[in-house]
């Protein structure tokens, strides 16, 4: 499985030594979150509070089984509230 580049928003970068992105092997959002929590423990509280994942511009907040296609563009984003 190829590693995917996971772009981090500012609040997550300190947990990755300031890197704007990290490389992770994962096929679903669930696997991505599990591996991020293991490899970058500082991200775990953020993930538990809720992180949105943009896959090729489509924003997922809840469906953790969503596939992460190889060569897709992946951004982690804060979960924006609504009114």
């Amino acid at each position: 499985m190829a590693k995917l580049e996971i772009h981090l928003w500012g609040a997550l970068r300190p947990m990755a030594d300031g890197a704007p992105s990290v490389f992770i092997e994962a096929s679903t959002i669930r696997e991505l979150f599990r591996k991020l929590s293991t490899q970058y423990p500082g991200m775990e509280p953020h993930i538990k509070r809720g992180v949105a994942v943009s896959i090729d511009g489509k924003i997922y907040r809840d469906q953790l089984d969503t596939k992460l296609p190889v060569s897709s563009e992946i951004y982690l984003l804060p979960r924006v509230p609504g009114g």
Binding site: G18, G57, K58, I59, E73, P81, G83
Partner: protein, 753 residues
């Protein structure tokens, strides 16, 4: 039939029609039951004692005299609300906002609550409660709060997002940054650079119905609550957690809602009513006064924003920067960060950045207000864009079209956009007759575009076929803007029955699984999707029942136009079975017929809108009159166009109020000076023109009918559109809203000097 989110191209029968709203008669005749209409035998009246100080240590609360007053049944303070949050700071903040613990943090912060046999007794009891305060210095302005010399409100806030993390506590709770490219290089390329600062004042959602709840806790731990809310499941979960109740024993029923707009996504007094009921062993009703709604619930953030845009003479924006300073009231939040995410979202800019600074101040906790944080940043950005257009001599709409984001644009918040609708709304605005209409004297025209994230979330729908063949639908996602009509339309469309054959209710928390609250423009997007799936599941059952009746394989039965039909040449003698036929015979074919759906909708798609405003300004009095207003927005598919138009008009009306008059005014003593509609001026019908709407229908690929949420985006552009119109009417750029008459006169006078 598919049970996934993908769009199906189909010809609709009832979707898109303007059917009669199911709650209309009850609402216009006064029969509809709102929060304060609930009552229970033996109920007590609760009132809350609130702090007159914006910032003070609570040294002592003496309730001994109040407790002895005849008719007082229970009094609570924070001592009755122990911290059960297990280290969850966010939940502790919610608890502390409901009832002050060691300190009061804003004017109106609750310090005690009383339940008594009537309001007169409760009021007398409040007067007998003695609170000994040690008053502390306070701060209510976001820029002041960020200064190192500001009084520090919390000793546990150390700025997130700054490396190394500060070791000294401050009011600056978070910094964040979004964007891409090389700003210096971008500004070096520019022929024109415009740099401006803006301020917006704090506004309230202004819903007409005050918060109200009736709570009843039995000695065995079972409890019920009737409440006005945008999300009764979330209220149940949070109240149960804070009070140590089992969620399954707290049954919450949502009343009709007289407006929420984000303000009823948070709990405020509900835990107090439950705690009082538990202590008094009687039902307790707690209804806020209008003054309490203003002082103690969740207005939006006031802001201070700097914007810098560089552009070439041909209109290409080469660089853009914004610094946004917002506050969360007395509790830390990320409102500036959300504003920063939206700042440049309408545009394709090679080099852009937005820096957010979130602070705490001695004001009530900031809550979401329709596309929270986006209207303020839109106001600052769009005014600066308008100045750039003027500086290079380009039509403002052409400048926006030239720089508009499109499919493949790297958004300012990170990802690359798929297909989006900003270009379509701008083109529609350019071609709209409003843009070409002549303007009267002292009248200016402004236009602005805006962006918002929508989302989906968890929703449950139960659809049941009654023995007479009509249909009931129960949903747990609160109806705040007409979703019951949309769900009935969806069920009718799928089942092939008339709209009038379907009746939808919002069910209580014991009847369905968890539903997220109605926010993020998710109500109709998510719950109509769940209704479609529930109906399709019911059709599967109906086909099975027809197959049993006919004693043929279910694969030989299809559902067409509200009837089961047997397929195949040999079945020609079988007359179709209608929904009524199958309902009537359900007892003999397996029992009640139903369809259920429990979903989590995702990938709701982002939303864009463009507004055009004409404003007349009386230069002697400073009074602004909006003479014409047009909203253009993509709805994906308007299930019920009247409701979509209502959302567009409502968002515009609220935005116009925000732009022109609405404002929290704090005195130097840190107390709110205008906690009443007489002094906090929201627009009424006579203040507004008929707001024109143009619904664009570019189907959302991630909803079976192509529906896109529409509730929030309409409030994003008005602050900008109105202020640009006023600027064009007066010749003076308005950097501070609301543009109340004194503020306009001052700006005109300053420009003349």
């Amino acid at each position: 039939m598919p049970l996934d989110q993908d769009l199906e191209i189909k010809k609709f029968k009832v979707i898109g029609t303007r059917v009669r709203r199911p709650d209309g008669v009850d609402k216009v005749t006064g029969r509809a039951r709102y929060g304060a209409d609930a009552s229970a035998p033996g109920q007590l009246v609760a009132l809350v004692l609130r702090s007159p100080h914006p910032h003070a240590i609570i040294k002592k609360i003496d309730i001994s005299k109040a407790e002895k007053l005849l008719g007082v049944k229970a009094i609570i303070t924070s001592a009755d609300l122990p911290d059960l949050t297990g280290g969850d700071r966010g939940m502790l903040d919610i608890l502390e906002n409901c009832m002050a613990r060691k300190k009061v943090l804003y004017d109106g912060h609750a310090v005690a609550a009383v339940a008594a046999i009537d309001a007169t007794t409760a009021r007398a009891a409040l007067k007998l409660i003695k609170v000994d305060y040690q008053v502390l210095p306070h701060v209510t302005d976001v820029d002041e709060a960020l200064k190192p010399t500001s009084p520090v409100i919390h000793d546990h806030i150390f700025t997130d997002g700054i490396e190394p993390k500060p070791t000294k506590a401050s009011n600056f709770n978070k910094q964040a940054e979004y964007g891409h490219g090389d700003l210096d290089a971008g500004f070096a390329e520019a022929d024109v650079i415009i740099e401006k600062s803006y301020k917006t004042e704090q506004t309230h959602q202004g819903y007409i119905e005050p918060h109200s709840c009736l709570a009843s806790v039995s000695p065995d731990g079972a409890a019920e609550m009737w409440v006005c809310t945008q999300g009764h499941f979330v209220y149940r979960n949070q109240c149960a957690a804070l009070l140590g109740l089992d969620a399954n024993k707290l049954r919450v029923t949502a009343s009709e809602i007289g407006g929420g707009f984000g303000g009823k996504t948070h709990i405020w007094t509900e835990p107090l009513a439950l705690a009082l009921s538990r202590k008094a062993n009687r039902p307790v009703k707690l209804t806020m006064s209008r003054e309490e709604v203003f002082r103690c619930t969740g207005p939006t953030s006031s802001t201070s924003i700097d914007v810098k845009i560089g552009a070439k003479k041909d209109g290409t924006i080469t660089a853009a920067f914004a610094e946004l300073r917002y506050h969360g009231g007395a509790f830390p939040a990320n409102w500036a960060e959300f504003g920063a995410m939206t700042t440049w979202a309408c545009y394709d800019i090679k080099n852009c950045k937005s820096l957010s600074k979130d602070a705490v101040v001695n004001r009530p906790k900031t809550a979401a207000y329709r596309a929270p944080s986006a209207p303020q940043s839109c106001f600052a950005v769009e005014n600066t864009i308008d100045e750039v257009a003027k500086a290079i001599g380009m039509d403002p709409i052409e400048l926006r079209i030239k720089n508009a984001a499109k499919e493949g644009t790297k958004s300012s918040y990170g990802p690359v956009y798929g297909p989006i609708g900003i270009g379509a709304t701008l083109q529609a605005a350019k071609n709209h007759p409003h843009m070409k209409a002549p303007l009267a004297k002292d009248t200016g025209r402004g236009m602005a575009c805006g962006f918002w994230f929508n989302f989906g979330g968890q929703t449950c729908v139960d659809l049941n076929v009654t023995p007479d063949g009509t249909v009931t639908v129960a949903v747990g996602t609160m109806d705040v803007g007409g979703s019951r009509a949309s769900l009935a339309l969806a069920a009718a469309e799928e089942l092939g029955v008339p709209y009038e054959a379907v009746r939808v209710i919002v069910a209580d928390t014991s009847s369905l699984g968890h539903n997220d609250m109605t926010d993020g423009s998710r109500g109709t997007f998510s719950s109509s999707m769940a209704a479609v799936f529930a109906a399709r599941n019911a059709i599967t059952v109906l086909r099975e029942r027809a197959a049993k009746t006919w004693e043929i394989p279910v694969g030989d039965v299809e559902w067409v136009d509200g009837e089961a039909k047997a397929k195949g040449a040999s079945r020609g003698n079988l007359a179709p079975l209608t929904l009524k036929d199958l309902a009537k015979g359900a007892g003999g074919t397996g029992g009640p017929i139903a369809g259920h759906s429990e979903i989590v909708a995702d990938n709701a798609g982002v939303s864009f809108g463009t507004h055009i405003c004409d404003a007349h300004v009386d230069k002697e009095t400073g009074k602004t009159t909006i003479t014409r207003y047009t909203v253009i927005q993509d709805a994906g598919k308007a299930m019920h166009p009247s409701y979509v138009e209502g959302q567009y008009q409502g968002g515009a009306a609220q935005g116009i109020g925000w732009a022109l008059n609405e404002e929290y005014v704090y005195g130097t003593n840190g107390r709110l000076q205008n906690a009443a509609f007489l002094d906090y001026r929201i627009p009424v019908c006579s203040d507004l023109p008929m707001i024109d709407t143009q619904i664009l229908e570019i189907p959302n690929p991630h909803h079976p009918y192509g529906v896109r949420g529409v509730g929030e985006t309409p409030i994003v552009p008005p602050l900008a559109a109105v202020s640009i119109a006023v600027t064009n009417a007066t010749g003076v750029r308005m950097h501070h809203i609301p543009m109340s008459p004194p503020r306009i006169l001052k700006a005109i006078k300053s420009a003349r000097m």
